[in-house]
Symmetry: C2
Subunit: 356 residues, 2 copies
């Protein structure tokens, strides 16, 4: 983007193997969508690996009860993916999680309650070298702030009350988030907080909705802040699978110039001119193209209007042209194949490109 500001300068917070803020790359998070128990570990670990391949850097798990704390803690011993534990209401769940090698604890000022509980969590997190996220959410503000008329201001105040306590306790390894389901409130709250404090910011539009509206609102909110240089880690919150959240998050970083690695797909929308089924072809290729972190542009085009032009500019391109598909590699025609052969040929060329 031509209009991006450079990232603002923040302190660095270490969440397990992940470094947040301080000029480190903006990371992508998601949240696990279901309760887990030990019986699920194999499947969960393999999903975490897949999420990592898609570009995910940390996964958060809800910890609603002690069984969840035990399960999430045990899981954190068995995966390289940094794990965050999400705690509301009962601070003893956070204390239990801190017996395991988790990367981060998320607490919410509106749901954790009395200061002595926060003190206990902060004390143990400091002892164990675990990061905290203070996650303020417009839907669950502390009761004391319910009278505040401007929701953005109420979120900033909730964050600053908690920050003041962390400062008194000399706890420095905190990331903050200020999320609303309203894009404008989210932007305003983060702009205000980031002006006054050097803590890394975790960005998200909360409860952003189903896939399509959720991606639009998340891009509008997170993207706008990233273009202002604000934001150190992001989570796209969708009523959709975690993998969709990760793919959307990575694309937001890419669209705002914050990440270049991985595959960029250019593909045409189809029209009455198209002889090549671009939509199904892009779905087919997405099964294998996201497992590389190389910086590659591919183009999947339907016809002779923009097809050859886009396909030529890409590292690997395919365009329908009448009854045949033409494959381009870095501007040169490498193969002409039938539509039936197109997927296999494309995958072969893609693998060669990744192997180079």
């Amino acid at each position: 983007m031509p209009v991006s500001r450079p990232p603002r300068s923040t302190r660095t917070v270490k969440a397990g193997s992940l470094l947040i803020g301080g000029g480190f790359p903006v990371s992508v998070q998601t949240m696990w969508k279901a309760a887990i128990g030990p019986a699920d570990f194999e499947a969960v670990i393999s999903s975490l690996t897949r999420l990592g391949e898609l570009g995910c850097d940390l996964v958060r798990f809800a910890v609603p009860d002690l069984a969840a704390a035990e399960a999430v803690g045990a899981l954190s011993r068995r995966t390289a993916m940094p794990i965050a534990a999400d705690i509301h209401f009962d601070h003893t769940l956070a204390l239990r999680c801190l017996d395991f090698p988790i990367a981060k604890i998320r607490i919410n000022p509106g749901t954790l309650g009395a200061e002595w509980k926060v003190r206990e969590v902060v004390g143990k997190a400091a002892d164990r070298g675990v990061a905290l996220r203070v996650g303020v959410n417009a839907g669950s503000l502390p009761r004391s702030l319910e009278g505040e008329k401007d929701p953005a201001e109420a979120m900033v105040k909730a964050a600053e009350e908690e920050l003041e306590l962390l400062d008194r306790l000399s706890f420095r390894d905190a990331v903050f988030s200020l999320k609303s389901s309203d894009v404008g409130e989210t932007i305003r709250a983060n702009m205000r907080f980031s002006k006054a404090h050097d803590h890394p910011l975790h960005l998200g539009v909360t409860e952003a909705g189903p896939l399509i509206p959720g991606i639009v609102r998340s891009t509008a909110g997170i993207g706008n802040l990233l273009e202002r240089g604000i934001g150190d880690t992001i989570r796209v919150s969708l009523s959709a699978p975690a993998a969709d959240e990760v793919v959307a998050g990575v694309e937001i970083l890419r669209a705002t110039g914050r990440r270049s690695e991985g595959v960029k797909i250019i593909s045409c929308p189809r029209c009455g001119r198209t002889t090549f089924d671009v939509q199904n072809f892009t779905e087919d290729v997405s099964s294998f193209i996201h497992s590389t972190r190389k910086t590659i542009t591919i183009a999947v085009m339907g016809c002779a209007v923009n097809g050859p032009g886009e396909a030529r500019k890409a590292d690997l391109g395919i365009t329908g042209a009448g009854k045949m598909a033409i494959l381009f590699r870095k501007g040169e025609i490498v193969r002409r194949v039938t539509y039936e052969q197109a997927l296999e040929a494309f995958q072969q060329e893609f693998d060669k490109l990744c192997a180079d």
Copy 2:
């Protein structure tokens, strides 16, 4: 959005019943994804009605040959939806379309060729009171501009060459578009063009890709321009169904404060705390909630953390709470139902809300 500039002032262009620019609401377009013939008319007309309910204001059809020109022309007589004809290579197809009540002809300076062809199209469009869109695309620039190093500048030059010809012919009813598959290039080209000319702009990021990356890039590009006050009609270009393009387009207008009517869904992403299947529920409700143009906010929430807070703020809210779902209407609890009864109860309350 708190940072939006007011829309810039442009001339008004009339495309059938749709007014573009001049302070009229930003409209949403899509493009038909397949070839059509008379045998498809009933199905196409019924889809156009559905696209209109979703918020679509104009639908473009590719016209690759004379049979398509006849079909698209005949269709334009049978639907209230404004129809645009997309012409490349053969200007006689545009001339034939102009015998029918179509709303707009799209021409591409890079593919239409010699000036005398453009003159013929422009002359007949003026006679028939039909609007033109000059659609410049970075993937199909005129050969004369292939040496230009900055693709944004090349797009502006292509648009201005055509504009100069339209001015000489005293043709005023033209909308312009400058689209690249690169978000930054798209933004830069539109910013430059809009500074110098008062023509309405049709915004889009071309070949934006499959659903998720395509929505991210379209929101980043179109959203950024709308926030600068630039843009009079938009098209989200996805390798996905036309309805998805329309839903995404409407959401982009909503997220940038350019449209408020219709239903805004707030819904939680699910986590290990959720007892209510929010993802399936939001999919179920999307079958009926998009057919109103009333301004309504609904919230579909999974648990007691943010659920009651968000559900209370919405016009109609539902939140899981243990084994029951609670329905809120404008902050008041109206019903408690089992999860099995939730969809029917929600639809009843939604219908009541729309009928008010």
